[in-house]
């Protein structure tokens, strides 16, 4: 009996100690600013505070940053809300779990997916005045829910895209969303003035790991014993929307370049890339200053061409590569 009483007293002591420990942890987490998210408390928006505007011909400017409590892009979806510039209390809710009034998913379950952080948005946002806003679809159907995310129909005719991956991700939104009442919502254009919505790529949302591989050319002996300067790379082929073709260049004194000899923009690892071309011919100027210009003995030239199909059914095809240099 005494043994039981002692054991019971010990248990009571442990319970009290555990409760004290838990309360200390909770107190410390609050004081130290650990992410204890209360209902309605917004995450600081990772939308650029300047490039934050979308446009609709009926409601006008739509602010995705809004004093820092606007939209938040994650590697799975868009969170929180955008606001109408003409009425900041009128929200476009992007995610039922993170609305300004808290989690409303029990009432209505919706979200805008950024599946696998590819930047191709799908799903729906909600506005109390205008209803559902579709981020991807075609004339007959919109997004459909697959597991925990939304997916586009097979042949979307409109879609909102964020440039999050590839060689030089900008974080720029592009494309259109659709609402049955107010029509198209544009995420970047030059009319009535240049505008766009842009996620801040200095965070970890943008990745430069979307390039799956490369082809390394044979090494060219230019014969320039006093060195040379690389001027440009021109390539011919096809570059479907959202896909990327990039280059790095190695100018070496040896016919077998090492990994570190291959350099991109500003002598770094960022690829030389262009998304502008006419009739399938793309010219890229090379910053020769970063590639051992006119250095005695540096006569060998090798390039790598990186191809990123960016999850598209049809990727880029490179048919010709033309190198230009001055010896």
């Amino acid at each position: 009996m005494k043994r039981y009483q002692e054991s019971s007293g010990l248990r009571c002591g442990l319970v009290v100690l555990g409760a004290c420990f838990l309360s200390v942890i909770v107190t410390l987490s609050v004081w130290s600013g650990l992410p204890v998210r209360s209902v309605g408390a917004a995450e600081e928006s990772n939308i650029d505070s300047t490039n934050k505007w979308a446009w609709n011909d009926v409601v006008g400017w739509i602010d995705f940053y809004h004093s820092g409590d606007g939209a938040f892009v994650t590697d799975e979806k868009l969170e929180q809300a955008a606001v109408l510039d003409t009425d900041p209390s009128n929200h476009i809710l992007l995610d039922c779990a993170t609305t300004p009034t808290g989690n409303i998913c029990a009432t209505s379950k919706f979200s805008v997916s950024n599946y696998d952080n590819g930047g191709y948005l799908a799903g729906y946002a909600w506005n109390d005045d205008y209803g559902w806003i579709s981020f991807c679809g075609n004339a007959t159907e919109g997004s459909s829910q697959v597991g925990d995310h939304w997916e586009c129909p097979a042949s979307p005719t409109y879609q909102v895209y964020i440039d999050l991956a590839g060689a030089n991700p900008s974080g720029d939104f592009s494309g259109y969303a659709w609402n049955d009442t107010i029509g198209w919502i544009s995420f970047s254009d030059n009319d009535p003035v240049p505008y766009r919505v842009q996620v801040d790529c200095t965070g970890d949302i943008c990745t430069q790991e979307g390039l799956p591989g490369y082809l390394q050319s044979a090494t060219i002996d230019t014969g320039a014993v006093n060195g040379f300067a690389v001027n440009s790379i021109t390539w011919k082929g096809t570059l479907p929307t959202y896909t990327h073709v990039g280059f790095t260049v190695a100018v070496t004194s040896s016919s077998t370049p090492s990994e570190s000899d291959f350099k991109g923009e500003n002598g770094g690892t960022t690829l030389y890339e262009t998304s502008v071309g006419a009739a399938g011919v793309y010219r890229i100027d090379i910053d020769a200053a970063y590639h051992n210009p006119y250095k005695s003995g540096y006569r060998y030239l090798t390039y790598r061409v990186y191809i990123d199909n960016a999850y598209q059914e049809t990727g880029p095809v490179v048919e010709d590569v033309i190198l230009n240099w001055s010896s």
Partner: protein, 209 residues
Amino acid sequence: MSSSTRGQSLFEIVVAVGVAAIIIGSAATVMVLSMRSSEQNAESQKGYAVAQDILDTIRSYAESSWATLYNNSPSQLGLSQQFYLLEATSTATSTALAFNTGTTTVSLSENDVVTTYTVWFTIANIYRDDSNTATTTYSPPPAVTEDPTTLETTAFVNWEISGETKEISLSQQIARTRSDVMKFSQWGTYATTSGGVSVTSEGESIYVP
């Protein structure tokens, strides 16, 4: 005999001589200044001709030895220096120029008057901004990027005249115009691939399957 036919008085003669002296003196001064100005203009014209000759010689030298010019530019040396080109060897059909550091002199004579010009040239790097506009003003990248195929050369000519030192300069931008082009339409066994990139069986295209 009336007073009007008596001849000039001594006072009138003195005044006349004085006026004549003033007129002749002024004319002589104007003539001397004009001759000196003419001489200076002639020296300046010859100086500009010398400077233009230096620039022409640099342009010719750049055709054969661009790497030497570029490797003596401030971006490569770390400082701006004075240079001159001197004829090293000459044949009936060609002249070899030697690239030197410092200054040299050129003497020109006209009407038995010899003028010695001290000559040199400097090299400046050219930087380009995003719109490809050329400037000699350096800013840290990525504001501008150096263009190794364009340089600005400035010829300086300096001489003494009437105890004064005169100096003129002429600048020009020169570009490395000789370019080579290589086109790849086939990627054979010497090319290597990594990470899912493939080459078609005929080796004519690169793609991701």
